[in-house]
């Protein structure tokens, strides 16, 4: 089992969700996060005074899936979130040792 974590622009969330729903995945977790990559932050101006905003708002999408689905999930995220401009985000994949469904106690792939 794998965990796909995607950091994307907030407005891309709906497209990413729609893209993932077409695949056979059981669910996802979404959170609002702040951070920066190569894009760095941006500058805002209040009454003529500049403020460097280091952390820009992003959305983190986490999807746990079977290993053979990973490439499809990653592709779906990239297709939906890519604008070609700097700041589109990143996707990474990690291995999950185990998954347990709280309600039933099922383990492994059955719990996805």
């Amino acid at each position: 089992m794998k965990l796909v974590t995607a950091i994307v622009k907030p407005f891309a969330l709906d497209d990413v969700r729609a893209g993932l729903e077409r695949l056979d995945i059981a669910g996802m977790t979404v959170s609002e996060v702040s951070g920066y990559g190569r894009q760095r932050g941006h500058t805002e101006v209040y009454r003529g005074a500049d403020y460097q905003v280091d952390f820009v708002p992003k959305v983190r999408i986490e999807v746990a899936t079977e290993a053979d689905q990973v490439e499809k999930v990653v592709d779906a995220v990239i297709r939906a979130a890519r604008t070609g401009k700097i700041g589109d985000g990143k996707v990474w994949v990690t291995t999950l040792d185990t998954v347990v469904r709280v309600r039933t106690g099922e383990r492994g792939a059955d719990a996805l």
């Binding site: 805002e44 101006v45 209040y46 009454r47 003529g48 005074a49 403020y51 460097q52 905003v53």
Partner: protein, 465 residues
Amino acid sequence: MGIPDTGDTAWMLASAALVLLMTPGLALFYGGMVRSKGVLNMMMMSLGAAGVIGVLWVLYGYSTAFGDSVGGAGFMGNPGDFAGLSSLLDATYLADAEAGTDVSVPLVGTIPTLVFVAFQGMFAIITVALISGAVADRMKFGSWLLFAGLWGTIVYFPVAHWVFSFDEVTSAVGGWIANDLAVIDFAGGTAVHINAGVAALVLAIVIGKRRGWPREPMRPHNLTLVMLGAGILWFGWFGFNAGSAVGSNGIAGYAFVNTVVATAAALLGWLLVEKLRDGKPTSLGAASGIVAGLVAITPSCSSVSPIGAIAVGAIAGILCALAVGLKFRFGYDDSLDVVGVHLVGGLVGTLLIGFLATASSPAGVDGLFYGGGVDQLWRQAVGALAVIVYCGVLSLIIALALKFTIGLRISDEAEVTGIDESEHAETGYDFSTLRSSGGGLGTPRPDAATPAAAETVAAASGKEG
């Protein structure tokens, strides 16, 4: 004593309520501009001023401002004349046809004196509240309330007498700026805005900078509140300016129109500066321009033409937009730009009367550009200077006295955590589910609960034990 004019009285009652609304409007305007950890304290300073000054105004404030000049010097009204307003209560409120008695209440012009008391009381409240923008995030709430009371007593009440108390209106002898110097200050460019601006500068310097200013970014946390506050201020300001006609008449209409057009021009002026200097016109700039224009047209709305008002507003919008940068050059943390907007805007409006006043206006005086020479200009300059010096010295004495007795500042630790928590034991916003869900951080303290709940807690903990 006499029968009040119902139309005038109705407008002045409405105007007084409009001016009161400016204070919560100011709370929103200021509250949105601070970081979220200080929003409640920022708003509480405005409401705190309303509490302290509202009471003092009735006790002796009105009398100090509008009582008969002590010694005929025009410096301050006699605090005893209308102390507690008790000398204004001898009246016949309802006509009695059978007994042949008519309505007879104490009057100021055509309105009941008590309505005038209420109207002017709102001015005192908002003037003190304006100062609070200079000391955002770091002033002890108790010290603020004391400052508000002391400053109102020895600065605002006398200066209001100088500027607003005309001979033979509320008492035989009024203030020196209004009567002897004959400064034109329709609604308070000197007594309200220059006064508050100077006090703000002094207090900001005495209390010192916020920790981390100007190195750390201190972004406004909610500009939509700022926009709402600016809108409420503009709305309430019609009571402030048009209400200062003390009647429902042509002068009120004249002041009203100038209050629209000068403010509109100032909004554009401020945005123009931002577009040219920073590249983008901002919402905070629009809100600030609105207030700058309102400040500048406050003294001048009865003495300049509507075209003149456009000039007053545009100049104020441009100059104030530039003036808010001064604090970075000179290193004083006037956090929300009370100096840049109210002192500078007040000076612009007060002095421009000397140039742009026209004899065809209700004030009936020509300024320099209308062939009146420099006569009115020097009067305006002397009046403004007098308020700056008096307010500067007295504000410094009050601020230093408080600093070296009860102290002005909260502790460094409290300032870092946030003044809302340290001074009020509250937080403005509750967006985190951990706080609000009933578990986690939101658990009620057992000792604060009702007796029944406390027993349950005790029983539960007993069972566990």
